[in-house]
């Protein structure tokens, strides 16, 4: 039963991202509102990531969905930052957040992309770094 109920989490992430993109292209909301919607989509994505890939073992479908939506959120976030920069930044008083907060959220997404889909560090190198920097040992499993 759980398997039947679970997949809509990724579907919801995709629907929110798609709707935000359509709204942005149609110019339905202000830039600050588009950015706020993007923040919320990124938060929903991270909630789903943790629910499906941290609290349990991710399936191949989870990894595929994750790869798709993290790339999409990064592209959308970068586009919004570019748009904001083209307008000389976010107008004072239009939002509680700054452009630096958007970039810090993009960093979260880039890190998730690298960690889940990038090249894996060899175990021996991992152990060498952890020992040298934190003096901790990790079993070589």
């Amino acid at each position: 039963m759980a398997e039947v109920l679970d997949p809509p989490r990724w579907q919801a992430v995709g629907l929110v991202i798609d709707q935000n993109q359509r709204d942005f292209l149609a110019g339905r909301y202000s830039l600050a509102e588009d950015l706020l919607a993007w923040f919320k989509a990124a938060d929903l994505f991270r909630e789903t990531q943790d629910e499906r890939m941290i609290l349990r073992e991710p399936t191949s479908d989870d990894l595929r969905q994750h790869k798709t939506w993290v790339a999409s959120l990064i592209a959308e976030g970068e586009r919004l930052v570019t748009e904001a920069l083209a307008r000389g930044g976010l107008a004072e008083g239009t939002a509680r957040f700054k452009l630096a907060d958007v970039e810090a959220t993009l960093e979260i997404l880039y890190l998730a992309q690298r960690e889940w889909h990038g090249p894996k560090m060899p175990k021996t190198r991992q152990q060498e770094i952890l020992k040298a920097v934190f003096n901790v040992e990790e079993p070589a499993t």
Binding site: A132, V133, V136
Partner: protein
């Protein structure tokens, strides 16, 4: 993995950054990066970068997140 307080502080700082409200994220990111840089400087380990250090911590950080999420769930269920 055995832990040390400096490593715990790095994990706490990353978790705080990733789970902060939008308007606090830039400041939280600076705090997290500062701890990574301090750890590298203290160890005088010049053969690695901030990115590589993060890559070395991937599995341990996932374990940390799992424990945090389960703790949050337990707190929520006690409140309900």
């Amino acid at each position: 993995m055995s832990r040390n307080p400096q490593l715990e502080a790095v994990f706490e700082a990353r978790y705080a950054w990733e789970n902060a409200p939008g308007p606090e994220r830039a400041e939280r990111l600076r705090g997290y990066h500062r701890l990574l840089d301090e750890a590298l400087a203290k160890a005088a380990f010049t053969a690695t970068s901030r990115d590589e250090l993060e890559d070395a911590l991937v599995e341990a950080y996932r374990e940390f997140c799992r424990a945090k999420r389960l703790e949050e769930r337990a707190k929520l269920s006690r409140l309900r």
